[in-house]
């Protein structure tokens, strides 16, 4: 990758990170705005969230074009996303059977991109297999709703917990040799504030039944997740806190791409339970999965496989 592309990629990542955070804020404030609490600057946050969605759209399209030489399946995915608003001019476009074909195509291309990026990633990325499994399962769930009109009720929390644990392991193992101890410790220490974004909620819902009841409606509304066991909320909040902690820790350790990728997955993948509603949201966790794989440097799985075959 040339210097220019490298700089452009970094810029795109910054915009994508900004867009992702802003659109997540929109997801969050829209869901908690009905609570008897005053959200400061609600109209401004809502507007910023809408800008975040547009920024994410532009960034994902740009990102797809920038890294397609590395992950070729991203090119058609980026093209589909780029032209998707044009289809909205066509009356009733979403009711056409061909729109189903497009959605299926997006999922197949997305799975292709995940597999391709995984093969070209270092063996360390294999630790994230539970996350890829979760993303693909949610894609299937979304297609199940959109195409067959049948909602699947699975234990989504188990999928999420397995994913968080694997991501935590990935964060801990990433660059254990190449990184100075001081930097690593600073990363884990510096990420502690991220732990407290959601962790207080854990203590609140564990000891306050009223808040547990309220948050039992808010959290699924924000993330899309459906609990098969209604008493799972504290576990979900705890998992969410850990996920955010390791996302920030990994970013501070230096793997910004993977941390952003995982953030994109956590905030959007469970929207698949209700069919994602937007093509952008469908592509979001797919691109996040690719970013999880492209953030590391070293001999790829494919390279190691070909070496072992040659021997």
């Amino acid at each position: 990758m040339s210097l220019r592309q490298g700089g452009l990629l970094k810029l795109t990542m910054v915009f994508l990170a900004l867009g992702s955070v802003l659109q997540f804020i929109l997801q969050f404030v829209a869901s908690v705005s009905f609570l008897p609490i005053k959200i400061p600057a609600l109209p401004l946050l809502t507007r910023l969230g809408e800008v975040g969605i547009d920024l994410s759209f532009v960034s994902i399209v740009t990102l797809s074009f920038l890294i397609w030489p590395k992950v070729k399946a991203l090119l058609p995915l980026g093209l589909i996303l780029m032209i998707s608003p044009v289809f909205t001019i066509v009356p009733d476009y979403f009711a056409s059977p061909w729109w189903i074909a497009l959605e299926v195509g997006v999922v197949v291309l997305g799975i292709g991109a995940i597999v391709e990026s995984l093969l070209k990633a270092t063996p360390l990325s294999l630790l994230n297999l539970p996350t890829f499994f979760m993303v693909i399962i949610l894609m299937w769930v979304a297609l199940d709703v959109d195409v067959v009109h049948s909602e699947a009720l699975l234990n989504y929390l188990a999928l999420f917990d397995a994913s968080v644990l694997s991501f935590a392991l990935y964060t801990l193992v990433w660059k254990t040799k190449g990184l100075r101890m001081r930097r690593a410790l600073a990363s884990y220490g510096g990420a502690v504030p991220a732990l407290f974004v959601f962790l207080p909620l854990y203590f609140v819902v564990s000891g306050n039944r009223f808040m547990e009841i309220i948050m039992n409606m808010v959290m699924p509304s924000v993330f899309g997740i459906v609990f098969s066991n209604p008493y799972s909320l504290p576990v979900f909040v705890l998992s969410l806190s850990l996920a955010l902690y390791f996302i920030v820790a990994l970013a501070l350790k230096g793997n910004f791409l993977a941390s952003l990728g995982y953030f994109m997955i956590v905030t959007t993948t469970f929207l698949g339970v209700n069919g994602y509603h937007l093509i952008l949201y469908m592509i979001y966790p797919l691109v996040g999965s690719v970013l999880l794989n492209v953030g590391d440097e070293g001999a790829s799985i494919l390279f190691k496989l070909s070496k072992s075959v040659q021997r």
């Binding site: 997801q27 759209f57 532009v58 009711a95 039944r209 009223f210 409606m217």
Partner: protein
């Protein structure tokens, strides 16, 4: 140096370009492409036969949408009893038809609606007024400093104010509160008022509605059509609260009205079918058994149910309150004091119960009279609507806000295409809960066109991937 300069220029152009693109999209409100609607009404030829819902020929060509339901009150064991509802939708140019079917092992035959019973006592049935089971671990004591208060415990009047206590949270109850303490310590609260439900719920003491063989509630099914301005809506939940916003009840001020929509800036039209009031069955529906809907003096409406057939109560909810779209206000406050002629019976229904399943068919003209348009949506081709479904099994304790609902709104649209031929697949699943059949067989049908385009989508994507890998294999 030159290279560095041009890199900087490129960087600047890219930065500005992306920001401008995002800004233009935002300012111009460029719509994002949506996914395929989860519920589709197909164009059909034919009309509904509400005396035999679901048996019309056109339904056989339409696949069931299997929609998962979830508990409205996650911690209450009586909530979320119905795990899924099957839905079909069709339109014939003038009417929209929605078919719902769900498993109900204990149908609430003969159960009555308190609202209908209040109009005409003969239109009643088994004991119904709400009995609330309090959360296990809830205890009570009498605060005798309230000398002018009394409570009834296990049928015995006691002086003082009854205080409920759960995990250190105390809730003083109104004067005259009546409870029964079962042998296992469970407390049943009698004759609770709507604000009391809110207080119990907000203090973690609401465990569910209590039922037994002679005391239960009607079965219900509802369809909610989102009519708010915030798109897409994120929540289909409704507030628990008082009879009106800001109601003062026994020293407590309740912020919301029960039934008002939580979604900020949201509003919705609801079609509520009630087995004990709107089911045209003279044997099992006390309201129809007494011809209640043919009696203008009892209903207070200047019209009767044409043909004395089943209907769905049209409701309207927004952030303020829940209303009834008519002038009588039998269940909820009326949206208007005059006009709206015929609105209560505007959404017609037919319902049957067989083989453990309820089947309810809703029919409504696509276009609503101008007078109703503020509270009911017009359905037109090319628009996306947001719909949610809810089911109550009254014999198992579901009533009012204790129900099974879709986890969020689903997208709904009218298709100009007729339903295509379908391929039927049968799957068998086993459930371990006691409220669902030990082994249920679900038949799902997928149209051949859907199968074709699914295959086409997958094949084209795979070909595109292979072509990319071959052409750019380096």
């Amino acid at each position: 140096m030159r290279s560095s300069l041009s890199s900087r220029k490129l960087f600047l152009i890219a930065t500005v370009g992306m920001l401008v693109a995002a800004l233009v999209m935002g300012l111009a409100s460029v719509p994002m492409a949506q996914t395929t609607p989860q519920v589709v009404a197909y164009k059909i030829t034919g009309t509904a036969n509400l005396s035999a819902p679901g048996t019309e020929q056109f339904w056989s060509n339409i696949a069931w949408d299997n929609i998962s339901l979830t508990a409205n009150i996650p911690q209450a064991p009586t909530s979320g009893i119905t795990h899924y509802v099957l839905v079909k939708a069709a339109w014939n140019g003038t009417d929209l038809m929605i078919l719902m079917r769900w498993y109900a092992p204990s149908p609430a035959f003969g159960a009555w609606s308190a609202a209908a019973g209040a109009l005409y006592p003969p239109a009643s049935g088994p004991g119904l007024f709400r009995l609330i089971e309090l959360t296990p671990g809830t205890t009570y004591y009498m605060n005798t400093s309230y000398s002018n208060y009394y409570a009834v415990v296990n049928g015995v009047p006691k002086s003082g104010r009854l205080i409920l206590n759960y995990s250190g949270i105390t809730l003083p109850t109104p004067n005259g509160t009546q409870i029964e303490v079962l042998s296992n310590g469970t407390i049943i609260l009698y004759h609770s008022l709507r604000p009391m439900e809110d207080l119990l719920y907000n203090n973690g003491m609401f465990y569910g509605y209590y039922t037994n063989s002679t005391w239960y509630y009607p079965d219900r099914a509802a369809i909610m059509w989102y009519m708010g301005t915030v798109i897409p809506p994120t929540s289909d939940c409704m507030n628990i609260g008082g009879k009106f916003p800001g109601q003062t009840f026994d020293g407590f001020t309740l912020k919301d009205a029960g039934g008002s929509l939580q979604q900020q800036g949201g509003a919705a039209n609801i079609w509520m079918w009630v087995s004990g009031a709107t089911w045209a069955n003279k044997t099992y529906d006390p309201a129809f058994a007494t011809n209640l809907w043919q009696n203008e003096s009892l209903t207070g409406l200047p019209y009767v149910d044409p043909g004395n057939q089943g209907f769905a109560v049209p409701l309207y909810t927004n952030n303020t309150d829940m209303y009834e779209v008519d002038t009588a206000g039998i269940w909820y406050a009326p949206v208007s004091s005059s006009g709206l002629n015929g609105s209560l019976f505007f959404v017609k229904t037919g319902a049957t119960y067989s083989d453990g399943y309820w089947t309810v068919e809703y029919v409504r003209p696509l276009a609503v009279p101008q007078a109703y348009a503020q509270w009911m949506p017009n359905f037109t081709v090319g628009n996306t609507y947001h719909v949610a479904f809810a089911v109550w099994q009254g014999k198992l304790g579901e009533t009012l806000f204790d129900k099974s609902i879709t986890s969020g709104f689903l997208q709904f649209t009218l298709s100009t295409s007729p339903p295509s031929q379908t391929t039927t697949t049968t799957s068998t699943s086993t459930n371990t809960t006691t409220t669902t059949p030990p082994s249920s067989t679900t038949t799902s049908t997928v149209s051949n066109v859907t199968l074709d385009v699914t295959v086409v989508g997958a094949v084209v994507a795979i070909i595109a991937l292979v072509a990319l890998y071959v052409v750019f294999r380096r």
